[in-house]
């Protein structure tokens, strides 16, 4: 009698048992210990069709496709980040090579709060492991349209930032309302940059949302939008801190709920993000997600203290969620003509914002300048400085940039002069090149 998965499923398990942000930080050695116990004790790795892989090590080049690291990559990351990103990358490669149908990178540290510019760690994240994987797959396997569904309880503001101007990457984040939780963003009117309107979707859920609310949003908002977008690849940023026992959030989701969500969402690749109820939630949620990915029965996976009637959301919450779903879908319709309007009326679009790195306590100010291009998503320049005295100028030429935007990107990069700037960067995605130049002080 051999147990067999319905779907061939790959697993990279990397608990980084020797790495922590600090001794008592939630992101510490112990985080995946009990998950490993549960996965091993359930015998999941013996199931035919469930294959465990060793993570790859991501390279500096992999990071340079996604980020501008200041002052450079090595100084904002540790080896553990390269393994975590490499774990996601390994799963991506195995899926692309068709050795597995789906995969799960159960790795730490997480990455979804890491934005395009990286001065340090924010929200426990230094580099964006999903984006690093996706851009690697785009470069090496010609993947084009990718959907990221972020089911972590915190808004995936880093992933949103990286793909804000990319019409080929649909980013959907389902999270606890930013008025009540870090990072305080992800409101439903955040829908993408001028040349990528609608490719960002935010679903801020009220505190104490339970299974019903999550699955309602999945069925009524996420799945229809995915069907319309027709992605080549669906990536799930599978944070597990929506759980009713999570110590740093206020939601009421469960292992059954996560398994059901995974089963309906059918992601090609899942990547662990947050989740800090390391004993009460993670062991069960992860087993549920693995079984759901593998197409196996998860009906008996439940937390020892699971009592759905106790965590069920209120009537008010249900009504709020139904209304919110309707608003999100209406807004999408209203936004439909915006891209053409932007292209007709704007030449450049500028935005200014400040970014706070809570983990490393850094304040950054950014000034962004996007060419609202009639032919592509447009060259982008970012001028960034921090309260630590670092200042950089970074140019991003998007993957499908037109000739004019490519030329403009190089012109920006080559001609930029600034007295107090440390470095000038160019991320040339069409040529898969990353250039750095120092500036005279």
């Amino acid at each position: 009698m051999m147990l067999q998965t319905k779907t061939t499923t790959g697993l990279v398990f990397f608990p980084a048992f020797d790495w922590a942000i600090s001794a008592t930080h939630p992101e510490r050695e112990e985080r995946l210990l009990y998950t490993q116990d549960q996965v091993l004790e359930e015998g999941l790795l013996d199931v035919e069709g469930l294959i465990e892989y060793k993570p790859d090590l991501a390279t500096v080049e992999d990071i340079q496709r996604v980020h501008f690291c200041c002052p450079d990559e090595r100084r904002v990351i540790t080896e553990s980040h390269l393994i975590s990103a490499g774990g996601a990358k390994k799963i991506g490669i195995e899926v692309m090579e068709k050795r597995i149908e789906r995969g799960f990178a159960l790795v730490r540290p997480p990455g979804h709060h890491a934005m395009r510019v990286v001065h340090g760690a924010r929200g426990f994240c230094n580099i964006n492991i999903e984006a690093i994987m996706i851009e690697y797959l785009r470069q090496h396997y010609g993947v084009d349209r990718v959907a990221i569904v972020d089911t972590d309880c915190h808004h995936g503001d880093g992933t949103q930032d990286i793909y804000w101007h990319d019409p080929d990457t649909l980013f959907i984040s389902l999270h606890q309302d930013g008025r009540t939780l870090y990072p305080g963003s992800g409101f439903h009117n955040e829908a993408g940059g001028p040349t990528a309107v609608g490719s960002t979707v935010n679903i801020p859920l009220p505190p104490r949302t339970s299974e019903e609310g999550f699955l309602y949003m999945l069925d009524e908002v996420i799945l229809p939008i995915l069907a319309e977008f027709k992605p080549d690849l669906i990536v799930n940023s599978a944070g597990q801190d929506n759980h009713y026992t999570d110590p740093i959030t206020n939601m009421c989701f469960s292992a059954q709920g996560y398994a059901e969500l995974t089963s309906r969402l059918r992601p090609d690749i899942a990547v662990l993000e947050g989740g800090y109820s390391i004993e009460g939630a993670l062991p069960y949620v992860n087993v549920g997600i693995i079984l759901a990915l593998a197409g196996m029965d998860y009906s008996k996976v439940r937390e020892p203290d699971y009592q759905p009637e106790k965590t069920r959301q209120s009537q008010d919450t249900t009504r709020y969620i139904e209304k919110l779903a309707a608003v999100i879908m209406e807004n999408r319709e209203k936004n439909a003509g915006l891209l053409e309007k932007h292209r007709a009326t704007m030449k450049f679009s500028k935005r200014e914002r400040s970014v706070f790195y809570d983990t490393d306590q850094i304040h950054e100010s950014q000034r962004e300048n996007l060419r609202v291009c009639p032919d592509c998503s447009g060259a982008l320049a970012i001028d960034s400085d921090t309260d630590r005295g670092n200042q950089i100028y970074a140019v991003h030429i998007p993957r499908k940039a037109c000739k004019a935007c490519q030329e403009l990107g190089y012109q920006w990069f080559e001609t930029f002069e600034g007295k107090y700037y440390d470095r000038v960067f160019l991320q040339d995605r069409p040529r898969d090149q990353y250039l750095v130049r120092g500036v005279k002080r």
Partner: protein, 568 residues
């Protein structure tokens, strides 16, 4: 003097080893329908006219339990499993008398749901009526807290001959494998007991009151008495015997690949500076994935007697064996026949080999000699492909720390030791095809029996401590102790070493055999809220497989003389 006996698929090999030489060696054809006869004949022949008091010990490696499992000749066994949440325990059903009951323990060993004694009593009475005598009891996470398995055992009473408790069989995690392991231990118990009681009493009758040890799949030995508690440990000791037999000849500073080329299969194993590599989880046999400690081995269906055919114009060897090689009157050409044609092996009827390969040569459009050479090379190529896969498999084993990812040791053997029937001929061709330093194990004909004779006791102890709960447990050793908040990894290791020493002595080891080492030492600070609430400690220590110390040097001299060598 010591005796080593290894029951193989074709022959049973026995050696009597004296102070620095093999005093006697003998081969008895293995009779699978009467294994006792084979073992007994071997023992009688080897001990003829030897003063009983001069024999220090006998180590036996048999296929008894292995065959019982492969042929599904297992005793009716009752299984009670306590699962709690997770995968459906029905998925791991072993047989008809398999019952899933209430009760649940979590990953830290806390009781989540109690057992229900009424359920157990109802099952017990059914089993009594059915006349079941052998039982396995297995709980999820029982290796963190055996409470419920023990409660169930107590409720079962004294009506059963043998009860296998999951937590006593291994300290490793894997509920499904624990179920399979308990089932196999309970269901091979009667056949193991009957057999070895017969061996014991027959020896006693002859006045041979020598201590008997049984070889295990991990290349270590245990006393006959302790094998009665763990009969499942005796499965698949055969490949281990050969590996142990090659040990004294392996490099002390390098990694070595051991190839045992038999009639039906080629078995391979890896030695790291003379210590065999163990399987990280446990043995797999006939679809049963278990927690039984074993050497890491790989077996492919290619040996001297494998059937050679042309399939769609392409040469195909094995994986089946259709009988003897044609040189001995068999039905199909084999790699052995190719060796006969090439003059590398004398065999029996050379003409029969030639005639057997001729039609294949015609189809391949080659001379018979070239076809024979092609068969030989192809067999070597397939073996090397499998060794490459095995090494890759070992090196791709996932690791869980940054340190291991960056500094992790990669196995890269440079030396190859070959034993088994066609060893000399294969060794020289394998040497020509690779960069390996290839050697034939001297005394390769009886290396397996020598390996059994010289193997020392092995054991493993897993200790788990949780200072927040204030406990240190090693359920496998029936050990639990309360610990204070300052208990740490150092204390845990000391405790584990003490337990290991005790276990080895119980299993019949001599003091000199007990060389202990650490396999795993993990300590985690448990943080609840923003404060450290305790430590979670996991340590695993072992006595690694090897040769009994007093015979180590003797073993080297044993192997020096008349090493057969081939030419290519």
């Amino acid at each position: 003097m010591i005796i080593g006996l290894d029951v193989g698929g074709t022959n049973t090999d026995v050696v009597l080893i004296g102070n620095d030489l093999i005093l006697r060696q003998t081969k008895v054809p293995t009779d699978h329908s009467n294994l006792f006869e084979s073992v007994w004949t071997g023992l009688e022949e080897i001990t003829r006219n030897v003063p009983p008091e001069s024999i220090g010990r006998a180590v036996l490696s048999t296929t008894l339990t292995t065959n019982a499992i492969v042929e599904k000749k297992l005793a009716d066994t009752g299984m009670i499993v306590c699962s709690g949440p997770g995968m459906d325990p029905e998925l791991f059903r072993t047989n008809d008398h398999y019952f899933c009951v209430s009760g649940s323990i979590d990953h830290r060993g806390r009781e989540i749901q109690p057992i229900d004694p009424r359920e157990i009593r109802a099952i017990t009475s059914r089993w009594r009526t059915a006349g079941l005598k052998h039982v396995g009891i297995v709980g999820k996470f029982s290796v963190r807290n055996p409470k419920q398995e023990l409660e169930i055992q107590k409720l079962l009473g004294d009506d059963f001959d043998f009860i296998a408790l999951g937590h006593r069989l291994s300290g490793n995690l894997s509920f499904p494998r624990r179920i399979a392991t308990a089932y196999l231990n309970a269901s091979v118990y009667p056949i193991h007991k009957r057999f070895f009681e017969a061996v014991r009493s027959s020896l006693d009758k002859k006045g041979l009151h020598i201590p008997i040890y049984i070889l295990k799949a991990d290349g270590g030995t245990m006393s006959l008495e302790s094998s009665m508690n763990y009969p499942g440990q005796t499965i698949l000791s055969g490949p281990a015997a050969s590996v142990m037999g090659s040990l004294p000849f392996a490099s002390e500073s390098e990694e070595t690949l051991v190839l045992d080329i038999g009639g039906t299969t080629t078995d391979m194993a890896v030695l790291i500076r003379r210590a065999p590599l163990l399987d990280p989880v446990g043995i797999e046999l006939s679809g049963h994935k278990t927690l039984i400690r074993s050497l890491k081995t790989r077996s492919i269906g290619l040996g001297g007697d494998s059937a050679v055919r042309i399939v769609d114009g392409v040469l195909n060897i094995g994986p089946d064996r259709q009988g003897l090689p044609m040189t001995y009157g068999g039905p199909l050409p084999t790699p052995t026949d190719a060796l006969v044609v090439l003059g590398k092996f004398s065999g029996g009827d050379a003409r029969a080999s030639f005639n057997g390969i001729e039609p294949l040569a015609d189809q391949l459009g080659m001379s018979v000699e070239n076809a024979a050479d092609h068969i030989f090379s192809e067999a070597c190529r397939k073996i090397l492909e499998a060794t490459d896969q095995m090494i890759a498999d070992i090196n791709s084993k996932p690791v869980y720390t940054v340190h291991e990812i960056l500094e992790g040791h990669q196995v890269k053997p440079k030396e190859m030791l070959v034993l088994g029937g066609p060893a000399p001929a294969f060794a020289s061709r394998l040497a020509a095809l690779t960069d390996f330093h290839v050697r034939v194990v001297p005394q390769w004909q009886v290396a397996n029996a020598i390996g059994a004779a010289l193997a020392k006791n092995t054991s493993e102890v897993t200790l788990f401590a949780d200072t927040e709960q204030g406990v240190a447990v090693a359920p496998e050793e029936n050990f639990a102790q309360s610990v204070k908040r300052d208990f740490d990894k150092k204390g845990a290791l000391k405790l584990a070493f003490d337990l290991l020493r005790k276990k080895c002595i119980q299993q019949g080891a001599s003091d000199a055999e007990i060389e202990m080492e650490v396999l795993e030492e993990l300590q985690f600070n448990m943080v609840r809220g923003f404060y450290t609430s305790g430590r979670n400690i996991r340590v695993k220590v072992q006595v690694k497989p090897g040769l009994i110390p007093e015979y180590r040097e003797i073993a080297e001299t044993l192997f020096k003389d008349n090493s057969p060598s081939g030419t290519d």
